[in-house]
């Protein structure tokens, strides 16, 4: 349980926070979506990491090998679904940004608020 052994989890937390910061702090809508993607990608890393067992291999039965240690395939399958969800969200978000650009002529949150206030 040393700190470096938890390397992947550190990366997960840092990526998560970078993504979250971008979502909250950036006013450009495309940058917000980039942050959101990063935020989701961090969670994928969490799932992949938890399925890995040191020395583990792909869960395929082989002739003559009986003592193989398998990594858990389930989190990877789950995250495959989550990746699809993430792509759909990003695609829909970008679609909305395109519509905002058409309607407002800007993709900056501040400009949009300014235009709406008028």
């Amino acid at each position: 349980m040393n700190l470096l052994g938890l390397y992947n989890y550190w990366v997960f937390a840092v990526l998560l926070m970078i993504g979250f910061y971008a979502v909250v702090a950036k006013t450009n809508l495309v940058k917000k979506l980039m942050g959101l993607s990063l935020f989701q990608a961090a969670v994928f890393l969490l799932y992949i990491t938890m399925g890995k067992i040191t020395g583990g291999t792909a869960p395929i039965l082989q002739k003559g090998v009986s003592d193989a240690v398998f990594s858990n395939p389930l989190p990877q399958v789950l995250i495959l679904t989550a990746i699809v969800v993430g792509i759909s969200t990003t695609a829909l978000g970008l679609g909305i940004v395109v519509r905002i650009q058409e309607e407002y002529g800007s993709i900056d949150e501040k400009d949009i608020q300014e235009i709406d206030r008028r």
Partner: protein, 497 residues
């Protein structure tokens, strides 16, 4: 029929999801609407059959693909789920029935099939959340319903719908991702995703800290999706700029479905396993509930647009629902679940009346609606009935749950009276903001001379009154919501007193 019965729990998802892609192809005018309404009514009938089963006290379980739990994905419908399924499918059906003319007014004919297809996907996704007993499945259904409901909101004719839906998308995704982190941590410690199985296996987990973190992530993430104050900022604009029919649908059920998962997790999965979890839950959510009731009602008091005013009132009602739940007593929980049903009825009637008003008035700003009751007497009549139910006047549905809520608060003795004061104050503010609308529409003279009566289309008006009368019926004999809510509360609280 027996085969259908055996597969009943899975049908609320399968039926709308299969019809949704077909609806896109129904180009001729009105056909897509007819198909969507028929599908939604079918889902409503299925929900009624499931609710009848739940009233008999049996939890209906279903193993998808005949793979037994915990390896296969399990579906289960208990009284709580059945209650919300009724709200969900009922709201969808009535909103579609009433909303035909409004959809024609707000959406071009060629966009309608796409919009209605997204509508059915929302229905399928939200139903999926309610019937699923698998944590990850719930996430997938949550995202299906969320992505489709962004499309519903973006269908609004005002361009301000776009920034509103963008905010909704960002906050909804953050909420869902928090939930995903939470179930990831739970899976890490227990190795299972089946809710009942998690509950059993948590007992063997020696280090409970990750579970506690998971509880935090799940509660906050779902709080975001359920628009718990102060995480509600996406809601008012999203509801305001969505097409009126979609607002009726989403306002009645979308946030409550998130609350359903929140309560299922915090009570069924974590409650008996984390030490003092009910204290953590109550101490975190009760202040938010109280603040939500007071702050959102206060904002509604000064909101000039009546649709947005009702949206803020929805945030306050989420506060009542949470307040009941955070009392962690049988009465409080029953009140909370009942209020989900009653609020859906009241807010459904109110938003439908707003939809009727929007058929004849170009603007929903309060000042533009002066004298509306003279032009649309029946519409405003339904609005008043819905408003009375929202306030909680005896004889309407809203009264029954507020009565339960007050009784539950008094069980606490001294401090309980503070909660009673909050509930009464919130209701008084509701009186004030509903009265503002009544005053302007009934007693203020319109600026342009005399006006003739021009009511909303007959179908829309009939359905609006149907919902308004349902408020009175379920206020006078609240058997249905009381029994389902009590069954649900007993299930949630389990062994606890």
């Amino acid at each position: 029929m027996t085969i259908l019965d055996a597969h009943l729990p899975v049908l609320p998802v399968v039926v709308p999801m299969l019809i949704a892609p077909l609806v896109i192809m129904l180009r001729p005018r009105g056909l897509a609407w007819a198909a969507a309404t028929a599908t939604s009514s079918m889902a409503f009938l299925i929900a009624m059959a499931l609710a009848a089963g739940a009233l008999d006290g049996e939890a209906q379980r279903y193993a998808l693909g005949a793979w037994a739990a915990p390896y296969g994905i399990e579906l289960s419908v208990d009284s709580f789920g059945a209650l919300l399924l009724l709200i969900l499918t009922g709201a969808s059906t009535l909103a579609l029935l009433a909303g035909k003319a409004s959809l024609d007014q707000q959406l071009e004919a060629d966009r309608q099939p796409l919009f209605l297809s997204a509508w059915l996907l929302v229905l399928a996704g939200l139903s999926g959340i309610l019937i699923s007993a698998d944590a990850f499945n719930i996430f997938v259904f949550m995202e299906i319903s969320a992505l489709a409901s962004y499309i519903l909101v973006a269908g609004g004719p005002d361009r301000r719908a776009m920034p509103a839906v963008f905010k909704y998308l960002i906050m909804g995704t953050i909420g869902a991702t928090f939930y995903l982190i939470g179930i990831g941590l739970v899976y890490m410690m227990t190795g299972t995703l089946n809710l009942t199985d998690i509950q059993v296996r948590i007992q063997d987990v020696s280090d409970l800290r990750p579970i506690l973190v998971a509880a935090g992530f799940i509660t906050v993430g779902l709080g975001l999706k359920a628009a718990v104050f102060p995480l509600h900022v996406w809601l008012p604009n999203a509801y305001n700029f969505a097409p009126h029919a979609a607002t009726v649908f989403l306002a009645a059920c979308a946030t409550k479905v998130s609350l359903y998962i929140l309560l299922s997790f915090d009570f069924v999965v974590f409650q008996q396993n984390l030490i003092g979890h009910e204290m953590q839950f109550a101490a975190f959510l009760m202040p938010l509930a109280v603040l939500g009731i007071l702050a959102a009602s206060a904002v509604a008091l000064f909101e000039p647009n009546i649709k947005r005013m009702l949206a803020f009132s929805s945030v306050a009602q989420i506060g009542y629902i949470l307040l009941g739940a955070s009392m962690v007593s049988l009465l409080g929980m029953t009140a909370s679940l009942m209020h989900m049903f009653n609020h859906a009825l009241a807010k459904g009637a109110l938003f439908m009346a707003v939809m009727c008003l929007a058929m004849r008035f170009p603007s929903l700003e309060l000042d533009a609606l002066a004298g509306a009751a003279k032009r649309m007497p029946w519409t405003m009549g339904a609005f008043v009935v819905g408003g009375l139910s929202l306030i909680g006047i005896p004889g309407t549905a809203g009264f029954t749950s507020k009565w339960y809520l007050i009784t539950a608060s008094m069980e606490f003795g001294g401090a309980g009276w503070l909660l009673v004061a909050v509930i009464v104050l919130g209701s008084l503010m509701a009186v004030a903001y509903i009265w503002r609308v009544v005053e302007v529409t009934c007693f203020r003279q319109p600026e342009t001379g005399p006006v003739e009566v021009s009511e909303a289309p007959r179908l829309m008006l009939t359905v609006t009154w149907l919902v308004a009368l349902a408020n009175v019926y379920f206020g006078l004999s609240p058997w249905l919501q009381t029994r389902l809510a009590e069954g649900g509360a007993r299930m949630l609280l389990g062994e606890m007193p």
